[in-house]
């Protein structure tokens, strides 16, 4: 389920080299403001660093005409995004514009709010996940989720936390120890916890807990990973580790990340969608490649937001 570690490391080194080259040879267009240009450069260097010839595995996810309500209040209006396999899509926008609601619709967590309602389709493997008769637990196995607040299970050890998804969904595997190690390695946590796998998850630092939660969601081998502001409570070091993790994971799955951090969106994502609500329902204002959104947005409102003029 993962490539050998050697090849992954080589990939990363190549990426890093390219990033280095790009950063040393900065080319600014004279029109853009300085903050925008730096973000645009980050975004461009990220998109350049992507190996265009690499083989993408897994399948994507398509949201068609998604609407959402809480009670009678329409909170999301007509959102359609096609998330391609092997890409990272960042969803940006001010608080309260429905980004979290949107990604919770994608893995059917929206329905746990008693007053919630929705319309539209979420197509995974050619099938709408909201079709009657679909086994919702299977959907959530295929579409994993990492929450804003690290939430390791307090009654479980680190090891049990990582493997909890298998136990919860009653999947039996032959070599749990291998899976444990590979998940923790992919989440960038193995070296820090390999000697304390039987300690409780709550004993880890916040950043480690969040990486533990990422490892936990990897263990069930999802095709799509939803991340709802995964770094908002973390320090820069932990954030960097998680961004590296996202970059590695994007080779084998489709990742959708909600973030308030423009730098982060520019660093990790291939595509960016900008959400905005003008007091009414949240709408998708603009969707495009990350380098385009940050260097040459079509909409004035997008430009205002990414350059920090509001929001």
């Amino acid at each position: 389920m993962i490539g050998s570690d050697g090849s992954e490391n080589r990939n990363r080194e190549e990426n890093m080299n390219k990033v280095g080259v790009n950063q040393s040879g900065l080319v600014n267009s004279s029109k853009t403001t300085s903050s925008q240009s730096s973000l645009a450069n980050v975004a461009r260097s990220h998109s350049d660093s992507k190996d265009s010839s690499r083989v993408v595995s897994g399948s994507g996810l398509e949201a068609r005409n998604i609407h959402a309500w809480f009670g009678k209040k329409l909170v999301l209006e007509d959102i359609s995004i096609n998330f391609a396999p092997g890409t990272v899509t960042a969803l940006i926008g001010p608080s309260g514009c429905g980004k979290s609601t949107f990604i919770r619709i994608l893995n059917r967590m929206h329905e746990f709010i008693p007053t919630a309602a929705m319309a539209g389709q979420v197509v995974l493997d050619g099938k709408d996940v909201y079709e009657p008769g679909v086994d919702v637990t299977k959907i959530r196995l295929k579409i994993g989720m990492v929450f804003q607040k690290p939430n390791p299970f307090p009654s479980m050890t680190i090891r049990e936390n990582v493997l909890s998804g298998l136990k919860l969904s009653q999947i039996k595997i032959d070599s749990p120890d291998e899976l444990l190690e590979s998940c923790l390695r992919r989440a960038g946590l193995w070296d820090e916890v390999k000697d304390r796998l039987n300690e409780y998850g709550g004993a880890l630092s916040g950043g480690q807990q969040q990486r533990l939660c990422i490892a936990r969601s990897l263990a069930v081998n999802p095709q799509v990973l939803l991340m709802d502001e995964p770094c908002s409570a973390l320090d820069p070091g932990s954030t960097l580790r998680i961004e590296e993790t996202i970059r590695e994971l994007s080779q084998s799955m489709c990742i959708i990340i909600v973030t308030h951090n423009m730098q982060q969106a520019a660093r990790v994502s291939d595509d960016t969608g900008f959400f905005l609500s003008d007091g009414g329902p949240g709408k998708l204002i603009e969707l495009g490649s990350t380098s385009q959104i940050f260097s040459n947005p079509k909409e004035a409102r997008t430009e205002d937001y990414v350059t920090g003029r509001f929001g």
Partner: protein, 349 residues
């Protein structure tokens, strides 16, 4: 290069200079109270207590007002009032504990744990006979009441908190109403249904049935509060991993709530262990050891206490105090065991 030695300090602690007015205030309070009690008509323990409270209110607020301001005075007045209230709560409790130990301690001997009262009259010296039959009866009652009420109570709480079914509100209302049921009514209910209605006779199971009725509301309400404290994030994390609701509850919510659920049982046992009235109608009472909970009269420690106290002779009353002491020790022992198992493998908390 010289190294500066820094020793650990606690600069927030009051210094002797700061404490001096307070110590003087205490001395003044005590002295003036003694003076007032000896000079005026305020006599006795009650007069002394009231004077002491009033004087300490006056002195502490005056000192605070002089040293700081009106706000500090108000704060110290409320501090004294809280202290007084806590003392009023603790005093009867301590006094009860003291009396039980004082009056019951004399009867303690190994014999009481090995024999029953079948060959001893209540009038006989306390060294003769024992209360093993009552201990066994109480253990049976608590055991069966817990076995019956813990699952029912937990499931009720799960229905209210996790299932959030249509009737959650009314179930919660009825559970609250049930916790107000007088214990004798629970006994009468079992007596009417189990004995008159179904033709059974006195036994420990019937007593446990009456206690179960009393224990369920406590267990259900406490576990409801405990389950509500489990953060919703954990439930969502479980569901997002592709678990069904019941596996999330069973593997994540209940283990996280374990120590709280143990507390629910402990409080339930505390509620019923000392009940006497429902047992009069259900276990029948006995002076003999009865190992069979399903047949034959049984006894219980509160029942033993009631019986000996009603008998009235000096030796019998001493036995009653001994029974109370043993009941207290037994309940304390059960609590400690429950706490120990509740804390085992309890994660980060």
């Amino acid at each position: 290069m010289s190294t500066v030695l820094v020793s650990p300090l606690k600069p927030w602690r009051p210094t002797v200079k700061n404490l001096l007015p307070e110590i003087l205030g205490m001395v003044f309070t005590a002295a003036s109270t003694l003076f007032i009690v000896s000079v005026t008509e305020l006599k006795g323990k009650l007069g002394f207590a009231i004077t002491l409270i009033l004087m300490s209110l006056i002195t502490t607020s005056t000192i605070s007002w002089i040293r700081r301001d009106r706000k500090a005075a108000v704060s110290s007045v409320s501090g004294v009032l809280v202290f007084v209230a806590a003392t009023f709560v603790l005093m009867p409790l301590m006094s009860i504990l003291y009396e039980i130990i004082r009056l019951g301690f004399g009867g303690l001997s190994w014999g009481i744990f090995t024999t029953d009262m079948s060959k001893t009259s209540a009038d006989a010296p306390i060294i003769e006979g024992g209360l093993l039959h009552a201990i066994i009866g109480t253990l049976y009652l608590v055991l069966f009441a817990t076995i019956a009420s813990a699952p029912i109570g937990f499931l009720t709480a799960l229905y209210i908190v996790e299932v959030k079914g249509k009737f959650a509100g009314s179930v919660r209302f009825f559970v609250q109403a049930m916790s107000g049921v007088p214990s004798i009514v629970a006994g009468l209910f079992i007596y009417a249904v189990w004995m008159i209605g179904l033709g059974n006779s006195y036994n420990a199971i019937a007593g446990a049935g009456a206690l179960t009725i009393l224990m369920i509301p406590t267990v259900a309400r406490v576990s409801e509060e405990v389950l509500k404290l489990i953060p919703n994030d954990l439930r969502e994390a479980g569901l997002a991993l592709g678990a069904t609701q019941w596996r999330t509850v069973g593997m994540i919510v209940l283990p996280a709530a374990k120590s709280g659920l143990v507390t629910a049982i402990v409080l339930g046992v505390a509620r019923v262990a000392g009940e006497t009235a429902p047992l009069l109608l259900t276990v029948g009472g006995s002076d003999q050891i009865n190992f069979n909970p399903a047949a034959g009269n049984n006894s219980a420690l509160p029942f033993y206490v009631w019986k000996n106290y009603s008998f009235g002779s000096d030796q019998a009353v001493a036995r009653a105090w001994l029974g109370i002491l043993i009941l207290m020790i037994l309940v304390f022992f059960l609590f400690s065991v429950a706490r120990y198992f509740g804390r085992m493998k309890d994660g980060s908390r």
